[in-house]
């Protein structure tokens, strides 16, 4: 009788362990998926930037410094070794771009260029997608990290060496309205 009780307890524990382990794996995979969503958008923006630089060059003489900065930051994003570095460069790039698009209102020739308008919508779309996929990443990260800390999944996580995922910071600049100078 006692043997059967012991067997039953072991079976139950093993079952709970397996289910918890699978839950942790799924949660971790979701954060990785969310990161790859951001990565796709970062790559897409990097593909759009040379186009933007070429289009703007002829129209806005005073923006050469901005364009250099954009080109440099684009390389930083591409060269980043980890998500935190990539996002730091990306946040700076977003700030420079949104400042530039606000100033672009002052160049009527540029505003009349259909190619530029198309690029502007594409880049706005990419920026929005970066922001939304970062939000998704942070949501999935919060779910995963909560699992790492709460009982009983924290025990399973410790045994199988699950590492917590790091949140991505929302840049302060994003909350500010870009300055418009004429």
């Amino acid at each position: 009788m006692t043997l059967w009780i012991i067997i039953a307890i072991v079976v139950v524990i093993a079952f709970v362990w397996i289910v918890t382990y699978n839950g942790l794996v799924t949660a971790r995979m979701r954060t990785q998926e969310a990161w790859s969503q951001i990565d796709v958008q970062l790559k897409r923006r990097n593909d759009l930037i040379p186009n933007l630089v070429n289009t703007v060059k002829g129209y806005a003489k005073h923006e050469s410094e901005t364009l250099e900065k954009v080109t440099r930051l684009r390389q930083d994003v591409a060269a980043a070794a980890n998500p935190q570095e990539a996002m730091a460069a990306s946040n700076e790039l977003s700030g420079v771009l949104s400042g530039f698009f606000a100033r672009a209102e002052a160049y009527p020739d540029l505003k009349a260029n259909t190619n530029f308008n198309k690029l502007q919508e594409e880049l706005t779309n990419t920026e929005n997608k970066i922001a939304y996929s970062r939000q998704l990443f942070n949501t999935t990260t919060a779910t995963y990290n909560t699992k790492l800390q709460s009982f009983p999944s924290n025990m399973v996580a410790k045994v199988h060496h699950f590492q917590p995922s790091e949140f991505l910071q929302v840049p302060e600049a994003e909350k500010e309205v870009p300055k418009v100078e004429f």
């Binding site: 594409e122 779309n125 997608k129 939304y132 998704l136």
Partner: protein, 296 residues
């Protein structure tokens, strides 16, 4: 928190469905008693009618709804970049598959979503919506529609609509009791009209009078609650209550749509007909929705 709300929505759907089916059975019993002096026959007839209605309405495909509202589908981002990209963004944060996207040629700003599950869903927006809303307002509106899809609201309202249509049908049948009831009256004479029989008849008549009202009121209450939930979910997606607030303000000032299918009116984000009733409103007043958003 939102996840729990969605779970509770799914549970409520089941409770609602069971309660509504019991209600249909009671109405069926009342009608059956009046027409044929048979409770069982009425219950069976009622349930068969409800099942037929539900099958028709659930299989009512997206294409049919869109055709009724004169919507045309767009299939690439080039046709309306802002709308397409916003739908893409909202579907991504809500973690639902990309819905089909439709445009309705109407100057009045409005939008709706349809589809019984997130895999077969569609979003439609009027040209007026695209021309009057800025990006963050558009995100608020599309976020609301995507939330309807993710929260399975369309399925719930379809079921509620089907059941209340079945009840209306049963009551219409029962109200012909005076015309078809001749055979039963002969029965009455033979049995000498027992007290129980009179009570049952009175009870059946009361049920028949109250049932359509109760069904409509429940259906509308469900629809109004869903609107509040979709507003809240939209803000959870965009993290920007101000966008939806100013979108709702613009919707409140807009003229009614010129050519709208009245059966689809409940689907839209703001009542496209702009008619004024209260108990049977499908949508809560915009002022109340804005007030709730401002508290968030």
């Amino acid at each position: 928190m939102l996840f729990e709300q969605i779970q509770s929505n799914k549970r409520k759907t089941i409770v609602l469905l069971v309660a509504f089916i019991i209600f249909v059975a009671i109405v069926g019993a009342a009608v059956g008693y009046l027409l044929w002096r048979s409770l069982e026959f009425g219950i069976i007839a009622g349930i068969i009618i409800a099942v037929i209605y539900m099958t028709i309405m659930i299989s009512n495909s997206t294409s049919v709804v869109m055709a009724m509202n004169n919507a045309h589908e767009i299939t690439s981002s080039d046709q309306s970049p802002e709308l397409w990209h916003t739908v893409e963004d909202m579907a991504m944060v809500a973690q639902v598959p990309m819905p089909r996207v439709f445009i309705i040629d109407d100057q009045s700003p409005n939008a709706f979503a349809t589809g019984n599950n997130p895999q077969k869903s569609a979003v439609a927006a009027t040209t007026g919506l695209l021309s009057t809303m800025n990006r963050s307002e558009l995100e608020g509106v599309i976020g609301h529609e995507i939330s309807h899809i993710r929260n399975y609201d369309i399925r719930i309202s379809t079921i509620a609509l089907a059941l209340s249509a079945a009840i209306t049908f049963l009551v219409n049948m029962g109200s012909n009791w005076w015309l078809w009831g001749s055979g039963d009256r002969r029965d009455n004479n033979r049995e000498g009209g027992g007290g129980l029989q009179i009570i049952l008849i009175v009870f059946s008549i009361v049920i028949m009078i109250l049932a359509p009202l109760a069904a409509a009121a429940v259906q509308m209450a469900i629809s109004r609650n869903r609107e509040y939930l979709a507003d809240a979910s939209s803000v959870a997606l965009t993290r920007n209550p101000q966008g939806l607030i100013s979108a709702l303000e613009k919707l409140g000032r807009a003229r009614p749509m010129k050519d709208v299918d009245s059966a689809s009116a409940a689907l839209y984000i703001s009542n496209p007909l702009k008619n004024k009733q209260h108990l049977f409103d499908t949508h809560p007043p915009l002022e109340e929705r804005i007030a709730r958003l401002e508290k968030m």
